[in-house]
Point group: C2
Chain length 217, copies 2
Amino acid sequence: MSIAAASGAVAAWQTRGVRSAPLSDAERARFRSYLRAVSPLADRELELADPARARVVARGEHFLSAGDRAVDCGTLLAGVMREYYPLADGREVTRGFAGPGDGIGSLSDLLSGEPARSSVIAETDARIAVVPWARLRELAARTPAWGRFLARITERLYLLKAAREYELLALDAEARYARFRDRYAAIEGDIPLKQVASYVGITPEHLSRLRRRLAAR
Amino acid sequence: MSIAAASGAVAAWQTRGVRSAPLSDAERARFRSYLRAVSPLADRELELADPARARVVARGEHFLSAGDRAVDCGTLLAGVMREYYPLADGREVTRGFAGPGDGIGSLSDLLSGEPARSSVIAETDARIAVVPWARLRELAARTPAWGRFLARITERLYLLKAAREYELLALDAEARYARFRDRYAAIEGDIPLKQVASYVGITPEHLSRLRRRLAAR
DNA sequence: GCGGCGGCTTGACCCAGGTCAAGGCGTGTC
DNA sequence: GACACGCCTTGACCTGGGTCAAGCCGCCGC
């Protein structure tokens, strides 16, 4: 009971505590180039999704908490974030990581519209250019360029998940760790090993031993 | 060398042997209702994708072979098919199954445009309403209703893969087998247990023991 | 400066699931 | 009708990775 009360207080604090800061010109330019890297968009089209401010999330804070409804997505301007399923027994299964330029926000929970099954948490202090999902959907329905943009995003993420399925079914822990290092080379240094282990699908202990074996070679 | 020659001969035979049969009125009606179940399409729009004949694939024959380029998709009118990755060591990892009404054709290979990494094989004699992927893309680019159709397909498959990722990371073999039975209840009886095992991510021996334990309860 | 704590490692032991080898059984083929 | 060949099962044994418990170390708050 006291635990429920405490976590309720935390949730309220987090809701109250949503912080933001002005988006610098450099950040706005980077935001646009990130989007254009996915699919061509004219300046007039980009303006329609332009966030006025950047969401600021401190290390350890959530951008999305499992159980809440996912309403926002965005692209990461700075920092490293992690998306994971909290399990009933207290374990966590991490679905993936994001670095600057990557999309944020648990597509599966945005699509389902149900209370989110995954959480998105900041592994370092982070800044995010937020776009409400409803807005993005509306833009996609109205303008062909945004429609193509959203279609490309979904396709890319599908390909990623298909690759992950292959890794989980066909590769052993060492090979999956190698894939992790490859895929997240740019942000590997910012991720604690226990989160890496939970992404690779093993325990921190096993990852530790595995790394020792690799270092010995 | 003789093996290469033999498999070359098989491939040639399969290419020559692509068989088809007239699409019955009942089949055409079912085909349309399958598509409409995904996303609303008017008769005039449906006509644009209407296949003239049904592709006929005998049990054990491939609809798509890894290494070939994926050019066709379609919906299954009758029978059961399986999509799998052939591994270098001779093992197979099966990605999923399809029954009547389900889409066929390895979305990831259609999207990538590269030589296919997975194969699609008939587990029973099957009939397929084929639509060339290029045609579907063209329709999606030209007409909003087909655009929404393709977007919905991609989203659905993304959600499926996300669910699969969760199962593979968070559940043990028994729970994954339960999910399999649930998801494929309608066609379970047509799938050999060794393919089930390869979908669940275990060996046929282990599945056999697991089933014995379940039966004993 | 020191107590605490979170991240990482180490060791000893355990277990789910893999491997290898053999055998039963149904089905198709000549 | 007998042989072969997939499919499934069973048994004996092995191993990759999990569990539990302890210890180390860098860092932070007081």
